[in-house]
């Protein structure tokens, strides 16, 4: 008790100004929380239709309840909804299983590949009596997760190679990598997405252009790789010269030196910025709405335009903000876990 009073004295009531500020802020918190709680719980409508919502002064949770399936899964056929649910569960289980460093071996890599294959088959269908669902019907959370996870899986190694290329002693390779990284980092992601939707079909022979989802995925990978390269470069520069020289003195080849000595240390140092880049990418997947892919943001916007439920955009935005918040938090927690594992 004494310690608590002491804490309050130091942190809340040190001087007149501090005391006044503390009292004002705490009152403000209480007031804001009270109003928000009333809006969200006491005055809200959980069951009912839009008219019931309009009469109530609180949040229209009924709208969210009614639209949850659409927001999460978009235009995926209603009878097949169990497939994306199982796919997401598989993804969560394998991610949770891989959290410990001691489990990182070749077998886990194969398991990831199997899981990826199973998820793809499950989502796409067309085999084993499953109805085929084309990618343009995929939507909502599975799409957002796929863009982010596949983006990360590919851009991480590409980023490492680009960073190595940037540090290379071969001038041509160095300048090619520098040009790529600086060019991509200089433009907004939207222009890359426009490029994928408009320019990429021009670049490829007619009829060979992949579908829009795939093209957007390629654009995201290209974009994030450049940022990943800069993150990895930070790690490479933080390794003392002695490590490079010692590896050379041991007679290791370039690739042995990088694989066994430099990269394990460099990648460990840059775990925090890597996690930040991953979070950034997860948030950035929301931009695919601009080229009309049905990600989480699109399904939310689309459900707000339902003529039965007009005027509840605040509820919908808060709901989807919560989803993004939870996932970003999960990524940063995982990052902290990795930091602990690798210490």
């Amino acid at each position: 008790m004494k310690a608590k009073i002491r804490w309050a004295k130091d942190n809340l009531f040190k001087g007149y100004f501090n005391s006044a500020l503390s009292i004002f802020l705490i009152t403000f918190f209480a007031w804001a929380f009270y109003n928000f709680f009333n809006w969200l719980v006491i005055d809200s409508v959980l069951l009912g239709d839009a008219d019931a919502c309009r009469q109530a002064s609180g949040a229209c949770l009924a709208f969210i309840v009614d639209k949850t399936r659409f927001i999460f899964f978009g235009f995926y056929p209603e009878t097949e909804i169990w497939r994306p649910i199982i796919a997401i569960f598989i993804f969560f289980i394998i991610t949770f299983y891989s959290r410990l460093k001691s489990r990182w071996n070749r077998r886990l890599l194969y398991n990831w590949m199997y899981c990826g294959l199973v998820i793809w088959l499950l989502m796409r269908g067309g085999y084993f009596g499953l109805v085929k669902v084309e990618t343009h019907n995929w939507g909502g959370l599975p799409l957002t997760l796929m863009l982010a996870v596949v983006g990360m899986i590919f851009s991480y190694p590409i980023g490492i190679f680009l960073a190595l290329g940037r540090q290379s002693k071969l001038p041509l390779i160095k300048y090619l990598c520098v040009a790529y990284i600086e060019l991509i980092r200089g433009v907004p992601l939207i222009s890359m997405l426009f490029m994928s939707s408009v320019m990429m079909p021009l670049f490829l022979p007619e009829g060979y252009s992949p579908d829009k989802l795939m093209r957007a995925q390629v654009a995201i990978i290209m974009f994030i790789s450049a940022y990943m390269a800069e993150v990895v470069r930070g790690g490479l520069q933080a390794i003392p010269r002695g490590q490079y020289e010692a590896a050379d003195a041991m007679g290791l080849t370039y690739w042995q030196k990088m694989r066994l000595v430099i990269l394990p240390q460099a990648l460990k140092i840059v775990i925090p910025p890597t996690v930040n880049t991953a979070i950034g990418m997860f948030k950035d997947t929301s931009l695919v709405i601009i080229i009309a892919l049905f990600d989480l943001m699109y399904t939310t916007k689309a459900s707000m335009q339902d003529s039965n439920w007009l005027g509840f955009s605040v509820e919908a935005y808060l709901f989807v903000a919560l989803i993004y918040f939870v996932f970003c938090n999960m990524i940063s927690r995982m990052g902290r876990l990795f930091e602990k594992e690798f210490r």
Partner: protein, 382 residues
């Protein structure tokens, strides 16, 4: 020694191979593009610049109507992007520094509030925040006739924010000239103060004099000029406002979203920058008898800024690039107008190259400015 075992030979071969690969890829893309464009009957080149654009732009810093050329439309876009990025960057830095300092406050509720703000804003996509603010300004705010009127002359409605504007008077021009004159004067005063201090060790209070002149010279001119102060108040006429300055809901929600989002990142940068200065530095400076503002300006800030400026630069660039999200809420920025032009003319390659070029030059300009600032601020080491 075999040919393959010579490191120099291998280096040349690797580089040749990568050059051939890149060139082959480029050639492959080039030939496909050429074939595809011929099939679609699209002529390459920038001839479309002079054609009539034919679309309206809701807000513009220069004269524009739908009869003007594409080139002029794109210029409007560049100016609109510059407008939102420059104002946004300035506001984001101010707010970010403020929140970063609050985050380090010894007052517990204030620090927690700042922390909660940072965590929430950083974990929600910017696009979602933009949609939210845009919905707030266009759906939640009342129509023009029931516009909120929090202060005399200020109206909030779903058509945006209306503010009173100052009636122009030549006296304002001379006040502006006097401000520029004072800044030049301040520069020479600073040089003089340094000279005095170097020669005699006495301190010449040049900052005080400059601030005094800066405050009183324009005021004097204003008083002599007959104290012109006429406001042009927005008035409700029919279905819309006339007079005053109007800020569109698109612009204000884009600005608000960008500033709030970027300020959370800047706050974290400022916090880590200030925390990177060891406590002993402050104590040592105090022990030397420096006044508290000198401790801050001569000891803490130069060291903190060294850590702050490089990541701050990339945040400023991020804000500029993120302003391209304007396309989602229909603010006519450069990407938005380039996209409209692309849809109308089909000149995808030219326009996307133009987007890349414009943003690259923005990035370069910001980097140059920040590098210059960084060099000025960096500690000169022995």
């Amino acid at each position: 020694m075999r040919f393959w075992n010579d490191r120099k030979n291998r280096a040349i071969i690797y580089q040749l191979l990568s050059l051939i690969a890149v060139m082959a890829l480029g050639l492959f893309f080039y030939s496909n593009t050429k074939a595809n464009l011929e099939k679609q009957n699209i002529a390459t080149g920038f001839h479309f610049f002079n054609r009539v654009a034919g679309f309206e732009i809701s807000e513009s810093l220069i004269e524009y109507n739908s009869e003007d050329s594409y080139l002029r439309a794109l210029k409007v876009g560049v100016l609109n992007t510059l407008k939102v990025s420059i104002i946004g960057n300035i506001l984001a830095v101010i707010l970010g520094v403020f929140i970063g300092v609050c985050r380090l406050s010894k007052n517990w509720p204030l620090a927690k509030l700042a922390q909660g703000y940072i965590e929430t804003i950083r974990n929600i996509p910017l696009l979602l925040q933009l949609f939210f603010w845009y919905a707030l300004f266009t759906e939640i705010l009342p129509g023009v006739r029931q516009a909120l009127n929090p202060m005399p002359g200020v109206y909030l409605s779903n058509r945006g924010v209306m503010l009173p504007s100052l009636e122009y008077n030549p006296v304002f021009f001379y006040m502006g000239v006097s401000v520029i004159f004072t800044i030049i004067l301040g520069y020479f005063l600073k040089r003089y103060a340094k000279k005095v201090q170097d020669q005699s060790g006495k301190q010449f209070p040049h900052v005080l004099y400059t601030v005094l002149v800066l405050l009183f010279l324009p005021l004097l001119i204003w008083l002599v000029g007959g104290m012109p102060l006429e406001f042009n108040l927005p008035k409700l006429q029919g279905f819309n406002f006339s007079g005053g300055v109007s800020i569109s809901p698109e612009f204000i929600s884009l600005l608000l979203g960008l500033v709030l989002y970027t300020s959370a990142f800047i706050a974290e940068i400022v916090r880590s920058g200030i925390q990177s200065v060891k406590k002993g530095q402050e104590e040592a400076a105090k022990a030397l008898g420096l006044k508290s503002y000198l401790v801050l300006t001569l000891v803490i800030l130069p060291q903190a800024l060294r850590v702050i400026i490089p990541p701050l630069t990339s945040q400023l660039l991020n804000l500029t690039k993120n302003s391209s999200l304007a396309v989602a809420i229909a603010y006519p920025d450069f990407v938005n107008i380039a996209n409209t032009t692309m849809n109308q003319t089909g000149q995808a390659i030219e326009l996307i190259s133009l987007i890349i070029l414009v943003y690259l030059s923005f990035s370069l300009l910001t980097s140059l400015f920040m590098n210059w600032f960084n060099k000025k601020m960096a500690l000169v080491e022995r």
